[in-house]
Each structure stands twice: as structure tokens, then as C-alpha cells.
């Protein structure tokens, strides 16, 4: 560990020497250039009160040399400047003291090893319904927001890019760490009989080949671009307008006194994100069993491995009815229910219970 730290320090020093004047040092936090320290003999005569009037940092090539917003503070013989947002990789900056250019520095591009990667794409299956509603992109590092329209494309066949396939949402739907993005296929185009659907048609048609591409130009929040381009190819099947039906799922009963996983086979792909949240196993008395859930291939099944062996008992699989399939049909109701066909009102139950036993 010590030798690694030492190596990093050496490499940072080596790197810094090339990027700026000797009296300006760039400080990094989470791979972002969060501040600089300035050591300059001309600073000695400037009092603390007048620093922000007489010293400024600006973009080297910027018009009017606008002072970058941030805070100055003194630390020993050095002056620290912390900009409101980290300095941008690849840009050149200038130190100006009493209207005189007094130094310059460049923020280096992100190192290749810090490049973000697309680590997961859901649904992971290669056959998807024509009314597919949403896709999830998982990244290794936090990504820059508001860029999906530029870098994610839906292509029919080999060349026909479908414009406006994904809903243009601001803000985009990211998780807290900006590593997971949800993209919706324009729901107005998926929903039957709405104007967008009538005029432009659905984004996907059945029995066709599509791919979704992600451009390697997309930057992570540390400024590094994606390591590689991504391409997901899939075929479409006909419309799925049927709610997931827990009663028809195949459950493999685990053996008593083992930690054998309980396997639930849905017989169709379900929504990856909701699968992570909507399942639990309880005893008949309602006590939740601690254990781990694992999502099976193509999100067609889920396995639950209890922390302690199964007892000879009746258990209950609890499923929250907000669970959806790939077309947005949840357990209680279809995505766009046709009320003219006399469908009964959707159930409002929040949880469906599926009892099961262990076997000898």
C-alpha cells in the first residue's frame, strides 16, 4: 500500500511539472482538479482583504478574462484558490495578478485507466417485445448527465436510426451516484391511440432486428470518455399486453435443512430494476427471512438463498404488485388497459402472496 501511494505521488509530481508553472500546484480530489495553490513573490504585498480584487484565475483563451468564481485562502506562504466547480480537463487557465499575466496551468486529460465503462445493459435478453418501455444502462463510474440524446441511438436493421425513439427528459433519470440511467422509449409512441402513436407509430415494430448503440464519446463526470463503444442487438416479438401472473410462475421447492435456493421461474423477462426491490420471503407468521436474491439470465427467473437452512415449514413468497414486465404491464394492470372491452377494474392490492413448502 505504501509503495503504491509513493508511486502515485511520484507520477503526480511528474505529471504536474509538465502542466503548469513551477509556482502553481494543482490539487486533486476524486480525480477532479478541485483547487490550486499559488506560490508567488508578488503575492506577499497583497493584503488578505484585497486578494479577490487583485488576483484572478481565468480561462486562458476566454474573452475578457472573466474571473472564475471561487474562494481564496492563505495557507502558509501559498495562496489557495478553490473554484466553485472543479477545473475542466483539457482546458488552459491563467493566473492574473494586478492585471498582469503571472502564470498558467493546464488540467491534463483523464488517464485511460480512469475511463468509465458500460458494465450492464437491461433488459439483457436478445428477444424483446415491440412495446418495450424502458432500458437501463449501468456504468462503472459516475457519468455526465443530460447527454443520452447525443450518445445513445436506436437503429433499425443496420443503418436506419430512429429519431426521437427515446423520451427527451430533463432531468434525466439517474440514480444518486449517476451510475445507472433509465431511458424510456417514448411512452406517447408506445401507448395506443395517442397522437404520437398515431402519427409516428411505435418506436419498435415486431419481427425486426434492432440495435442500441452507445457512443464512446460520452464522458464520465471526471472528464474521461467511455473506454469502448457499446452495441446491443435484439429481435422484436409481438406486443405484450398481459400482466405478469405470479400464480402461473414455476417455483422449485427447496429441500428442508438445506440452503438450496428457492427458484422462481417467471416464464418471461421482467423488469431488472424492480426485480431488485419487489420480492421477499416470509414465514407464515410474516417474519421476513434474511438472505440474498439473485436475478437469473435474461431476467426470466430469480433465486433466493436463505442465510440459514430452510425449516420444515410453510413459507410465503411476497411480490409487490408494482413489479412490471418489459412493456410496463404491472401485476395489477396492463400498461394501457382497454376499458371498452369490459375489463374488470384493476386490483389495488399492493402485495400478492404465493405460499410454498419445503420438501424432504
Amino acid at each position: 500500500m505504501f509503495s503504491l501511494t509513493f508511486f502515485v505521488l511520484i507520477s503526480m509530481v511528474a505529471c504536474q511539472k509538465k502542466e503548469h508553472d513551477d509556482h502553481i500546484t494543482i490539487h486533486w480530489k476524486d480525480k477532479k482538479a478541485s483547487s490550486i495553490s499559488i506560490f508567488n513573490q508578488n503575492l506577499g504585498s497583497i493584503s488578505g482583504d484585497s486578494i479577490s480584487d487583485l488576483v484572478k484565475i481565468s480561462l486562458k483563451n476566454g474573452e475578457n478574462k472573466v474571473a472564475i468564481l471561487g474562494n481564496f485562502s492563505k495557507q502558509g506562504d501559498s495562496l489557495i484558490f478553490e473554484p466553485l466547480v472543479p477545473f475542466t480537463r483539457g482546458l488552459d487557465y491563467e493566473l492574473i495578478i494586478r492585471n498582469q499575466s503571472s502564470g498558467a496551468f493546464t488540467i491534463p486529460d483523464a488517464a485511460d485507466k480512469d475511463a468509465p465503462e458500460l458494465t450492464g445493459f437491461f433488459p439483457s435478453g436478445d428477444t424483446l417485445p415491440e412495446n418495450l418501455l424502458k432500458v437501463f444502462l449501468h456504468f462503472s463510474h459516475p457519468m455526465r448527465e443530460g447527454q443520452s440524446g447525443k450518445f445513445v441511438a436506436l437503429v433499425k436493421g443496420n443503418s436506419d436510426t430512429i429519431q426521437g425513439a427515446f423520451l427527451d427528459l430533463q432531468p434525466e433519470l439517474w440514480n444518486e451516484n449517476r451510475t445507472i440511467l433509465t431511458l424510456w422509449l417514448d411512452p406517447g409512441r408506445v401507448k395506443r391511440d395517442l397522437q404520437p402513436n398515431k402519427k409516428l407509430g411505435a418506436p419498435l415494430q415486431s419481427n425486426a432486428s434492432y440495435h442500441i448503440t452507445v457512443s464512446p464519446e460520452w464522458q464520465g463526470s471526471n472528464g474521461g470518455k467511455l473506454k469502448t463503444a457499446f452495441k446491443k442487438t435484439f429481435l422484436t416479438t409481438s406486443r405484450d399486453s398481459i400482466s405478469p401472473a405470479p400464480a402461473s410462475w414455476k417455483i422449485s421447492f427447496p429441500k428442508t435443512d438445506t440452503k438450496q435456493p428457492l427458484n422462481v421461474d417467471f416464464l418471461e423477462s421482467l423488469d431488472h430494476s424492480l426485480l431488485n426491490e419487489t420480492f421477499s420471503v416470509t414465514t407464515r407468521k410474516g417474519e421476513t427471512l434474511p438472505g440474498q436474491w439473485h436475478i437469473g439470465p435474461k431476467e426470466k427467473s430469480a433465486q433466493f438463498k436463505p442465510n440459514t437452512p430452510w425449516k420444515q415449514e410453510n413459507y410465503i413468497l411476497k411480490v409487490e404488485t408494482r413489479l412490471e414486465d418489459l412493456a410496463g404491464n404491472n401485476v395489477n394492470r396492463a400498461f394501457d388497459g382497454d376499458v371498452s372491452k369490459g375489463n374488470k377494474s384493476p386490483s389495488s392490492a399492493e402485495i400478492i402472496t404465493v405460499p410454498f413448502n419445503t420438501v424432504e
Binding site: 466553485l84 432531468p171 401507448k191 391511440d193 430494476s273
Partner: protein
């Protein structure tokens, strides 16, 4: 969930315990709000800025101390505002995003939420042609964590939360903070009505659109943006959805735990997503103005919504499917943000055809 609840509870105790020190009647306490993102801005009473933070699922109320009345606000016009803000942040325009703008209804200054490429949120105040950063250190504020977090937060292998959600819009009406939420998981709408000053109360209603235009499908869908308006003496939530219909909900029906069906009054066209809506007034008539991702700004007379509403008491003819309420497209395209300066003037953030992103003020003639 427990953590969030505990945090919310602790926050309330903290607020309750220090309320004697707080300003006015709003329960604000001095401190530094931990804002992780700014997805929506709106103004409450007396220059109190409401900040919707999607990343921490929290609404902050911050006293801007900018409450000097300005009845004769001059028009604001700043060309290339993105480049100007980028220069102040030491970067280029492509590395920032303007997330929302809100006009302080008292001082008429424009508040602008910006996100830098690394995700840092920054708040700016624009008065005349002056753009300055608003510090949130040591301000009077209060906050409320939105409920409805999943019972057990699922995490990926790296420990990242799998929960994907956003505050799609935030508003203030009838003494309540109104928040519409988008989930990246379920395709549904949550709409919260939160009494202000914050207490432990937040009413949550689920909303459903009844596509009155064809009377055939009932669907769930997330609200993209909303405003409130009075139609025939009754207060309504006027919401626009990700699938672009314009839907009315009576405000008094949005009660805790209720499931309310709204009526679609118009569909605003294809391949489009609504961005912002405001209610304007001129000569005794009121108008709904709506900016769109790929359409011009729409103007709808509330009077025609009123008439249309009347005709929806009986089953709707199929012919309405394409009709809906009449709306006029203004010759103003690519409006990214929109707010009301006063009854007759709007502040618009527009991407001009020459590529310049300009903040400007519309005159009365647009109504």
C-alpha cells in the same frame, strides 16, 4: 428506508427544538443545506426559494433574503447566457446545463440552477445584466425528505443505489409545496402536496389519466410539468405528461392516499415532451403557456379549456380524439425554460436559430 425515516424524524426534532430561534413563521434555521442536485426551482412566500433535489429526494426551502418588492421590473435580456455562466465557472458552455429558472415574484430577480459536467449544482441570481452565484453557506433554510423510498434499498456490486428517480417539477400554490415525481422504475406518477412551513405531513396522491379524448384506455403515466389555475371558480392542477396530453385534476380532490383520475383536454403533438407551463393574464382573460422540447411555445385560452370541460360530462365522441382544446403555436421555438415575470410577461431561455442561448423577456403581445 429506516435511515431516511430516521433522518427525516431527526430533522423534524431538530427543527422543532430550534424553532424559537427561527425566522418568522416559516421554521427556517441557519445552516448549510446539503444540496446534491437541483432539478427544479420555485418560489414560496417572501422570497423563499424552493429547491427540488432529485439526488437526495429532498425539497429545500431557502431564504434568499431577496424580498424587496419590485413592481416595475425591467425586461431582462442576456445573450449567450450559457457562455457567460460557463466563463464564470471556468469552463466551456458545453460543460454546463441550465436545469431550471425561476423568477422571484417579489424582487423579480431570476434564479437559475446550473449543473456542471462533474455534477456539481450551482445556483445563480440574475438581476438586470448581472449574474452572480448564490451562496448556500450559512443561510436560513428548512428541508423535507420525500417519503416513498423503497423499503430496502437495493445496491449493485459497487454499492451504488439502484434507485432511479427524479423530481420532474416543483411549484407553490395555496400555501403548499407541490412536487411531481418521476420514477425510473415504475411507470407512474406521484404527486405530493406538502404544507409549508414543513411539518411531518406530506400528502401523496397517485394520479391516473383517463383519456377522455377516446374514452378507451386508462393509463398511468408520469407528470413532466404542471401549473395551477382557476377554471370556473374552481382550482385545478394543470399537468402535462411525458406522453404529452394535457390533463386537469381538481386540486381539492388530491387528498392523501387518494387515486385521482384526471381528464385529458388536449394532446399537444407527437415526438414532443413538455418542459414548462405558466398561467398568464391579460385583460381579464387567462392563458396557459407551455414550452416544449420539439415544438414552439403553445398558448391555450383557459376559456376554451372551460368550455371543453363542460362537453366532457357525457361520453366523449371519437371525433374528439384529434380535436381537444384549441391551442395556438407562438412563433417562438426551442424554449428550454420558461417562467412568469408578471401577469403579462414571461422570461424565456431560448436556443436561437444561430445557436445562441439567450435569456429574454416576452412582451404583452405574445398573449
Amino acid at each position: 428506508m429506516y435511515f431516511l425515516l430516521a433522518a427525516a424524524f431527526a430533522g423534524l426534532i431538530f427543527l422543532a427544538g430550534t424553532s424559537r430561534l427561527s425566522r418568522g413563521n416559516y421554521g427556517l434555521v441557519k445552516g448549510t443545506p446539503e444540496i446534491k442536485s437541483i432539478s427544479g426551482l420555485a418560489f414560496g412566500p417572501d422570497g423563499i426559494l424552493l429547491v427540488g433535489d432529485s439526488k437526495s429526494a429532498t425539497v429545500f426551502a431557502i431564504d434568499t433574503e431577496d424580498a424587496v418588492s419590485n413592481a416595475q421590473a425591467p425586461a431582462i435580456e442576456i445573450k449567450n447566457i450559457d457562455q457567460k455562466i460557463a466563463a464564470l465557472l471556468g469552463t466551456e458552455a458545453q460543460n454546463i446545463t441550465i436545469q431550471d429558472i425561476a423568477v422571484n415574484p417579489v424582487s423579480k430577480n431570476v434564479y437559475c440552477a446550473v449543473q456542471s459536467g462533474d455534477g456539481t449544482p450551482v445556483l445563480f441570481k440574475i438581476s438586470g445584466d448581472k449574474i452572480e452565484a448564490v451562496s448556500t453557506k450559512g443561510v436560513m433554510f428548512s428541508s423535507l425528505t420525500l417519503n416513498g423510498a423503497p423499503s430496502e434499498e437495493a445496491k449493485d456490486k459497487r454499492g451504488n443505489s439502484l434507485r432511479v428517480s427524479a423530481i420532474s417539477d416543483i411549484g407553490f400554490a395555496e400555501g403548499k409545496v407541490l412536487v411531481s415525481g418521476l420514477s425510473g422504475q415504475e411507470f407512474a406518477s406521484t404527486f405530493r402536496s406538502i404544507p409549508f412551513p414543513f411539518t411531518d405531513k406530506q400528502d401523496q396522491a397517485t394520479l391516473e389519466i383517463y383519456h377522455a379524448a377516446h374514452g378507451k384506455y386508462e393509463t398511468l403515466s408520469p407528470i413532466r410539468t404542471f401549473t395551477t389555475a382557476e377554471i370556473s371558480g374552481k382550482k385545478y392542477l394543470v399537468a402535462s405528461y411525458t406522453c404529452t396530453p394535457l390533463v386537469l385534476f381538481p386540486l381539492d380532490e388530491l387528498k392523501p392516499g387518494s387515486h385521482v383520475k384526471g381528464r385529458t383536454v388536449a394532446e399537444m403533438g407527437s415526438g414532443n415532451s413538455p418542459i414548462d407551463m405558466v398561467t398568464m393574464k391579460k385583460g381579464g382573460e387567462s392563458f396557459l403557456m407551455m414550452s416544449n422540447s420539439s415544438r414552439p411555445v403553445f398558448k391555450v385560452k383557459y376559456k376554451s379549456i372551460e368550455t371543453f370541460q363542460g362537453s366532457l360530462t357525457t361520453p366523449v365522441e371519437e371525433s374528439f380524439a384529434t380535436a381537444g382544446v384549441d391551442f395556438v403555436s407562438l412563433p417562438v421555438t426551442n424554449v428550454i425554460q420558461l417562467d412568469k415575470l408578471d401577469d403579462t410577461r414571461m422570461v424565456l431561455l431560448q436556443r436561437r436559430s444561430n445557436g445562441s442561448l439567450d435569456l429574454w423577456t416576452s412582451s404583452e403581445r405574445y398573449l
